[in-house]
Symmetry: C2
Subunit: 199 residues, 2 copies
Amino acid sequence: MTDSTTLDPAALRMLDAAEALIRRHGPAKATVVDVARALGMSHGNVYRHFPSKAALREAVVARWLHAVVVPLEPIVASPDPAPARLARYIRTLAGLKRQKVLGDPELFAAYHLLAEEHRDAVAAHVATLRGHVATILRQGAAAGDWQVADPDATAVLLLEATMRFHHPHHVRDQAADETAPARLDAVLDLLVKGLGTAR
Amino acid sequence: MTDSTTLDPAALRMLDAAEALIRRHGPAKATVVDVARALGMSHGNVYRHFPSKAALREAVVARWLHAVVVPLEPIVASPDPAPARLARYIRTLAGLKRQKVLGDPELFAAYHLLAEEHRDAVAAHVATLRGHVATILRQGAAAGDWQVADPDATAVLLLEATMRFHHPHHVRDQAADETAPARLDAVLDLLVKGLGTAR
């Protein structure tokens, strides 16, 4: 997987061009040929950074998913109590996904299609989210907020139990559902209380 | 919506015929003409019971969904403690859906397609499940197991928090995932404990 955070400036310009093409013409247009044409350069130049159309598209998906992760990182690093941060993390994740759908449903649909083709990028994204939640669970265990025998397994559970609110399939269907944030708060309240009983 | 439990024997034979056609030839074959031919009767005879192809297909979907509800009813009626029954209800629901997928993936896919066309039948089914869970929540509140201000709203939450394990979209994707039942148990444990803190 290409990590867009370590790409050089030329590769980043290519990803910008690919994103602009997707925004204007849909996911089919994110090809090496289209990107080269948009930037007025040779195909070979693009291929030096992205050896195939698949590699280019996977990098586009990875960068799109990474944009969701960036605002979550401060929540993991914050010194606030873990129970509050656990709820805030999942609430923020759901809010970011919801904003993406509401802000530009067609772009969301285009990226969702691309993501369906690049399951490795999606798996890496999910692994990042799980790792963050597991870190918060370990911090809470260290602070005596709860006892969690297997933080990695419990992180999977917590993300599964709230998937109605952040899984792209459901976020798309419920974007107009204005009571969803309140329901997520109530589910998080139950889950955090449930964790707290094993103290 | 047609309630298949109140249909007369002739209508039930027509639904049996429609199900046999779906099983053999896929969802496209559940039409009034096909059912009439299969039973050697006139179209008019079928139309007297099901005024349209849509009505016939909706009744087929309703009966299929009702088959999931039947084994759940004794759990609602049981005198066992509500917390155990709440977990058992959702675990059984997930198990029934999983069995349907594993038992005959093609038939499940056929019915899933039909259900996508008949959202009213699906909505009625979901309302039944929510009503059952709300009943168990009220019984638990009456017994002092928990305080639940709005059992109907909490029933929605509990089914949403476990949808990974009973929503057809996810059940189909995870049918081969043998750790799913253990994860559902762990989620139910957290949720029931969370409910129990408001005692």
